[in-house]
Amino acid sequence: MSLTERLQAFHQAVAWQGEIPLQNRYTMGLAGERFFREIRDHARLMGTRCPRCNWTYLPPRLYCERCFAELTEWVEVPPSGTVYAYTVVHVDLDEQPLTEPEVLALVQLEGCDGGLIHRVLAAPDQVYIGMPVEVVFREEREGSILDIAGFRPA
């Protein structure tokens, strides 16, 4: 038998408000620690390579997700590549309209099988699939993905 009593008036419907109050501090991991130090200290991108699968991971991984080998071979990846996919985003993280739409792209970098996702520092109508771009490092770097300002047309 289903419920035998239900709310009968709108004002009886109440909601209790609350939150999950916490913050997180993430370490970068064995691979990420090196990746971000290289960016911070040398403004260069380093990936890891699986010789068996002939696959270069960027961002680097500690292990090959295809064969599970530990990846110990680090290779420098040039900071230039092409736009693989892009999108013009019109809302911010709070789902509020952005006054200036922004362009995000997945950029395939040369010499690796991965790439990076970041903002494209160009007007939306200038961006296209296959567009050559290069990574722009910030002057002040502290060891995070935000040490990269984005991609600019190459």
Binding site: G18, L22, Y26, M28, L30, Y63, E65
Partner: protein, 388 residues
């Protein structure tokens, strides 16, 4: 209809540490890789992956299973995460068991991971929100409250004192000295426990297991594969799990009925009629010292209220009649929630194969039991392993 037999054929684990540099998926990979290497299998030999991790608020990733999946070797493979709070580590083995026992897969990699240190300012923060959002959270509860109230109910019911219970911490920390992955292996005394800071009476600091990061993995295989992989398969003889009402304030907290239910299910499946004779080693869940005692009683391995006496008599020491937590348990090795539960299963696996090194219990044990527990003092999960 005959059930498909499932064996544990390999195991691996990371150190349990207070704060790991590794990301959650890297910890998962380290344990998984070691488990596969230990039995000479490769990722290509894995048919499916069963994963366990406790609240996402520890790791700080919603749908944390997806984040960890590549590290568990799940790329291109069937992958399902299971979750019963603190009971997850042992549940994950049950979860893996039905992957193989169903006949869908011949092998299954079982991985459990926890990275509690990501949760700031204190990992206990994740536990604030395990309470009912409307009726309990506004009172500002912390996790210690429920343990303290359960411990108090247990002590009062059977007239126990703190000294009886502190022996568990002393034993487990000493056992953990022989565990290469342990966080807190050391000799301490009952006085150390009794003199440690009172946090939420009757719980004192040394009654509690340490918050930790870590991962554990085991490899399950169907019978025909198990025999090919190893000459020492360890069989899953029985599994059981049970969940009590969420209305924990309506329950008798002096006895873990859900653990008894889970144990009875597992005993029946394993054909065990006299557990005290037929179980040779036990890894009951010990996030707090009294929990080991509580669980020995729930598992029907001690009379109600009598587990402290068993402990005092030395029965539960590594060289006693019924070695309990020979690994060092959560109190000694550490408590990365889901990984800690799976560590217990791995310990039974190593013990039954005679591979536990300095932790090896004497007398060639043939059957062992691992148990975990969690939620609002509510879930029991039991796995029985044997080499008979």
């Amino acid at each position: 209809m005959r059930m498909r037999r499932v064996a544990v054929v390999g195991a691996g684990m990371t150190k349990f540490v207070r704060r790991a540099l590794e990301t959650a998926d890297e910890l998962s990979w380290q344990a998984s890789k070691m488990a596969l290497d230990s039995c000479g299998l490769t990722l290509a030999d894995v048919d499916a992956v069963a994963f366990g991790t406790a609240p996402d608020t520890f790791d700080g990733v919603h749908m944390n299973g997806e984040y960890c999946a590549p590290g568990c070797g799940a790329y291109g493979k069937p992958f399902i995460r299971c979750y019963v709070g603190g009971g997850t580590g042992v549940m994950a083995v049950i979860h893996g068991w039905y992957h193989v026992a169903s006949g869908l897969f011949d092998t299954c990699l079982v991985v459990c991971e926890e990275k509690m240190s990501s949760c700031q300012p204190h990992p206990q923060g994740a536990f604030l929100t395990i309470f009912d959002h409307t009726l309990e959270r506004p009172l500002g509860p912390n996790l210690l409250w429920i343990f303290a109230m359960e411990m108090n109910a247990y002590m009062t019911r059977y007239g126990l004192n703190k000294r009886d219970i502190a022996l568990v911490t002393v034993k487990n920390r000493a056992n953990a000295k022989d565990h290469p992955c342990a966080l807190l292996g050391e000799e301490i005394t009952v006085e150390d426990v009794l003199n440690s800071e009172v946090m939420a009476w009757p719980v004192q600091r040394l009654d509690v297991s340490p918050i930790s990061d870590g991962a554990v993995a085991i490899v399950l295989a169907a019978e025909h594969v198990a025999h090919r992989v190893t000459d020492k398969p360890v069989w899953i003889e029985g599994v059981g799990w049970s969940l009590e009402t969420a209305y924990w304030t309506n329950r008798d907290l002096s006895y873990p009925l859900q653990v008894e239910q889970a144990a009875r299910m597992a005993y029946q499946m394993a054909g065990i009629t006299e557990p005290r004779k037929q179980i040779h080693i036990v890894e009951p869940y010990d996030p707090f010292d009294y929990k080991e005692l509580h669980h020995l009683e729930g598992l029907l391995l001690a009379d109600k209220g009598k587990a402290p006496e068993m402990t005092a008599l030395g029965v539960t020491r590594r060289d006693g009649d019924l070695p309990v937590c020979p690994s060092g348990g959560l109190l000694g090795v550490g408590n990365p929630i889901a990984a800690a539960g799976l560590m217990k299963v791995a310990e039974i696996f190593w013990q039954l194969r005679g591979e536990a090194g300095r932790r090896q219990v004497p007398g060639n044990p043939k059957r062992g039991l691992a148990q975990a527990w969690g939620d609002l003092m509510q879930v029991g999960t039991v796995v029985i392993l044997g080499v008979a």
